[in-house]
């Protein structure tokens, strides 16, 4: 059985006291333990940013890539060894600004990974510029009169692009987040977990309190149907006094990318012997 202490690293987080990343970090570890997944069975892939430092504080296989690039790296790792459970943790800048293109394309490939966004609606590590998910009007170092761009809408985009698991969590509600990540781990296919993560140093708008006053859980709504993409889209546009969290949409049974690849029919690529299939007949096509 996996235990929490398996994930214990000698390196202590350097996040600011009170940072929402602590909640996400704990929720992730708990969800993994609850699903009996061990550190050597996973690969946590991250980018660059405050949240992306998570693998440094977690005893597990980790790959901290470049700002914005965890998704293609994770895709490569997944294609080459789909026995590994692949989890991504990265920021809103990383994921939706620098990495926005990979986001769209990962969805359409339905790669089997859990993609967790530490969405603090600001650039933390570079000290407080507005981010793609900053609300319009957000005042920051580089938007001194307030941002004049519509914020990126990860949930709506994922729905529009056909994602099979679309969800949102809150770093201040760990129980719910643990549950959400468990669901994502259980899902076969690309699983989006966009997590509202308060940044106590640079985002004085989207605080714990801000969310506590507004969020409600979709799964608490009696008539919510997580298999209805249009309904989910409608909910995804909701922002203001009431903000939904939970699973917006889920589609089961759709093949994952690896399911459809002939060379992976038997076993993961890296478990196949290199060069074993080479034969002289290869020459004949050149004759």
């Amino acid at each position: 059985m996996a235990e929490l202490k398996d994930y214990l690293s000698p390196n202590k987080p350097t996040w600011c006291p009170g940072c929402g990343n602590f909640g996400i970090w704990n929720a992730l570890k708990n969800a993994l333990v609850n699903r009996n997944i061990k550190p050597h069975e996973i690969l946590i892939v991250s980018g660059i940013g405050c949240g992306s430092k998570l693998p440094d504080y977690t005893r597990a296989n980790g790959l901290m890539t470049l700002h914005g690039r965890p998704l293609p790296a994770a895709t490569g790792a997944y294609l080459a060894n789909h026995d590994l459970k692949i989890i991504l943790t990265h920021g809103d800048g990383d994921g939706f600004s620098m990495g926005g293109n990979h986001f769209i394309h990962a969805i359409r490939r339905n790669i089997d990974v859990v993609d967790i966004y530490q969405d603090n609606k600001v650039y933390g590590l570079t000290k407080g510029q507005y981010s793609p998910t900053s609300e319009k009007g957000f005042v920051s170092k580089t938007s001194q009169r307030g941002s004049i761009e519509e914020s990126v809408k990860p949930i709506s985009l994922a729905l529009g692009q056909g994602a099979t698991f679309v969800s949102r969590g809150f770093a201040g509600d760990i129980d719910h987040l643990v549950w959400l990540i468990e669901q994502a781990l259980d899902h076969r296919g690309y699983s989006l977990v966009d997590v509202f993560q308060p940044c106590v140093s640079f985002n004085k708008v989207n605080t714990y309190q801000f969310y506590q006053q507004r969020i409600y859980k979709l799964q608490d709504e009696e008539d919510y149907d997580i298999t209805n993409r249009e309904l989910a889209f409608k909910k995804s546009l909701e922002w203001g006094d009431r903000i939904p969290i939970g699973i917006f949409y889920k589609e089961e049974g759709k093949p994952t990318y690896a399911d459809e690849l002939v060379p992976l029919k038997e076993k993961p690529l890296v478990k196949q012997e290199l060069g074993a299939l080479i034969s002289e007949s290869l020459k004949s096509e050149f004759m």
Binding site: D56, H105, P263, I278
Partner: protein, 581 residues
Amino acid sequence: MHNNELTLIIGGDAGQGVESSGTGFCRALTRAGLHVFSVQENRSRIRGGHNYYIIKTSEKPIISWDETVHLLVALTAESVELHAAKLEKGGAVICDSELGIDEVKISDLGISLISVPINKIAEEHGSKIMSNTAALAALAGLTHLDIQYIYSVIETNFKKKGAKVVESNRKVAQKAYDYVVENYGHVFPGRLNATGERQRMIMNGNQALSLGALVAGCNFVSAYPMTPGSSIFEWLNSHGDQYGLIAKQTEDEIAAILMAIGAAHVGARALVPTSGGGFSLMVEGLGLAAMVEDPVVIVIAQRPGPATGLATRSEQADLLFAIHAHQAEFPRIVLAPGDVKQCYEIGARAMNLAEKYQVPVIIMTEAFLTKSNRTLESDEIDFKQVKIDRGDLLTNDDLDGLTEPYKRYAFSESGISPRALPGHPNAVYLSTSNEHTEFGNLTEDAEIRTRMHDKRMRKLQTALSDMAGPELIGPESADVTFVCWGGTVCAVREAVNRLNNEGKIRANGLQFIDLWPFPVEKTAPLLERSKNLIAVEGNYTSQLALLIRMMTGVLISKKILKYDGRPISPEFILSHLKEVI
């Protein structure tokens, strides 16, 4: 014009099948036991616009194309205009009677017009689409190449489409062949007689490179299409299911290199073919590979730039970029094959070097070479000679026996640290693009940084043992020494031969294949003993000469350079030689 020794051009519009005709004829010649060397020139468009295909054939192995042409198969009038005047006296132009080419003009050039109702034959005996078949058969008829070889290529190319298609094509071929034999049987002096020699292979540079990589265990290729690198991806893509390789077309080149790194990180042997523009986008990822010490092989198929430049043409101007790409400093290996066989060898070798040194390896090729066909003896390509060397990769047994905590980035004298693939409970570790400790965790410590940087950089020194000095072309001592790299070597070899045969100027050449880490010690003596160094390169600034000066101090002030998108021919070298010496 000797028998079994001639050069022909097939010219026509994009979309008319110049490429498939050329490739088909190359194959027919190969099957007839002849040697072949071919070159293609294409425009960057899908239909219309002049493309052509040069095929040189001989009973003896051929080391280069050249500008002497005996025969032209012209699919358009434009093609006649562009090429007829280049033909040797006694040569011939084959074209469709419908083109209405002026016979007088042609015979004024001292060559014959072989007017064949190509389209008509195709339409009458098959369909219009088979006019390429008719043209090839006409070519065979004129040169007395046994029509069996045309049939055999028809069989290969069309059998997937069914017996009827094969049959119609044969019919068309036969009619066109007969027409030419009947009407022009003795007009053209050149003959292509089957030699009955043992079977050879024919392939182009990109096929050879792909084959080499595949044989050396490449099982992952990720790419975004970009001419002239795409055909590597396409070849591997079409062989993936059979040979257990995953070929992923990506959203862009950034994703291509990142996917390769991700795959390599967990143990795949990954290749990323691209061209200079795509490589520009991979520059950030290149440094990531170096920092996490994951092995990836990148192919830069060069074309003229900057930017989009001339998308389908050839150039050799990305060398210094490949060596210096990415901020800061790290070990990498840069190799440049110069002919088809070297493409195969380096395709294979690169896969091993990348894993042995846990570094990115860059292979430089160029448009010319990517699509230039050459015949190879079957034993020149010996799959069994390729040994897969995974370097210092810990096995499951090694990992089971680990007693100490695993240090992925252990300081070592060679710079190489024993590598575990993620998945074993005894070797759970982190890799990061940040500077890190031996365990892979983040650090900002000045001393660890220095030691880790030293460790990485030491690999350059270690890898030098695997880097060969330049290959000598011709005699050890000579009056002039051509210094070259990449596909230009073909023309240099031929120029050296011609000069030495002529005897007035004794020539040799040095071809640099292993370019980085630069083999200073193995190079300097060779340069020093040369009296008259001449850089021959397909670029403006003579990048190899600059590299040589940077690394050895030797100044090569004489240069034969070309940067119009077309490859360097032996004639180009010889005619410019007078200007520089």
